[in-house]
Amino acid sequence: MVVGRNGAGKSSLLDILAGRLAPAGGALVLTEADDGVLTECLHYVGHRDALKAALTAEENLTFARDFLGSPALKPREALAVLGLAHAAGLPVAYLSAGQRRRVALARLLVARRPLWLLDEPTAALDTASQDILHRLIADHRHQGGIVIATTHQPLGLTDAKTLRIERPALSDSAGLAPAEGETA
């Protein structure tokens, strides 16, 4: 789990891990991968849900399944796991924010990737969906997968390592930083 205040750099860390941003210093090392390409080993679910509004939920997932390779669950099965079986034929444009997020999370299930990068995955999810997500994360870890998630909520994990990102004191206005820093 990656925790930290708004703007601390949690998402930027995930961006670096996903290869979207170049690190200012240091290097990414990937060990024990079948083939050395990082982007082929990971799923990334960020703030933007990467869904096409004009396509149905099922079409979006069918595309992701064919495009990403190493297919796992069928789109309808994945939607059923997320409790969205009834919305499979609806264009994503008609879905609510929480439902879209669930469709984006269903992408984790249609293609098999060992590393999941989740950027605040619980955003817009109701409590029932959060429970489903907790179970998915637990299952994935049980199968030997890695989950790196930025979050403000516990994600139902008790044994996870937590990385707390603190903002460098210099970048903040001097008056506010100490008071908020105490709570961390």
């Binding site: 979207r20 941003l21 082929e40 990334y44 960020g46 703030h47 990467a50 396509l55 069918t62 495009f67």
Partner: protein, 221 residues
């Protein structure tokens, strides 16, 4: 290959669902071609002489329509991040998207050219030549445009910049497209000479455009 097909089908399906650029390009093409006879007056000889040039300029401008959304739409909703996670290289992503875009914009333009040729009093020979030159020439326009589209993907109002960036590079295709179409209706040079250069330009654009657009997308983040 599987990824290529998946992306191609997705983009074609999106184009069919949203409507938009393909049809809009065609209507824009039509409106330019209809405007020019009004401006020039009812001189059929003049019209049929400059007809190929009019059609080619109209096709060139119509190609620009919708080109700015080629990568921008994916950039905005985060799909571009998803496209980066494919086992296939980014070049293939570009190739699939450009192919889909050409199928819904360039191809209809080429096929509609005979009907629009009527408006500028083209002879049947010239109409055939127009279809042939647009068919092999418009891919070059789309590929060149793709580089500009990739460069301006993250700009909010990239459309105008895109046009300014890519139009100069479309000039060679314009020159040889028009001269091939003119050669078909008479003149001193054989049709094949400019036509083959046009084909070569498209092939070069396909390679350079694909690699260039992929490089622009990579550095764009």
């Amino acid at each position: 290959m599987r990824s290529f097909r998946a992306l191609l089908i997705r983009d074609l399906r999106l184009a069919a669902r949203v409507g938009g650029s393909g049809l809009m390009g065609l209507v824009f093409f039509l409106s330019i071609v209809t405007l020019i006879p009004f401006a020039l007056g009812p001189d059929l000889n003049l019209l049929s002489r400059i007809g190929p040039a009019i059609l080619w300029i109209a096709a060139l401008l119509a190609t620009l329509i919708g080109l700015d959304r080629l990568f921008q739409a994916d950039q905005e909703d985060g799909s571009l991040d998803l496209l980066r996670l494919s086992p296939a290289p980014l070049e293939m992503v570009v190739l699939a998207k450009v192919t889909a875009h050409w199928l819904v914009t360039g191809l209809p333009l080429a096929l509609a050219a005979p009907f629009f040729g009527l408006l500028v009093a083209l002879t049947p020979d010239a109409m055939l030549a127009m279809v042939a030159t647009l068919l092999v020439g418009t891919p070059a326009l789309t590929f060149i445009g793709a580089v500009g589209a990739a460069l301006t993907a993250s700009l909010r109002r990239g459309g105008v910049i895109l046009a300014i960036l890519v139009l100069p590079f479309m000039i060679p295709s314009l020159i040889f497209g028009v001269s091939a179409a003119n050669a078909a209706t008479g003149g001193t040079i054989p049709f094949a000479t400019p036509f083959l250069i046009l084909v070569a330009l498209s092939l070069i654009a396909a390679v350079v455009g694909t690699v260039g657009a992929a490089a622009a997308l990579r550095s764009g983040e």
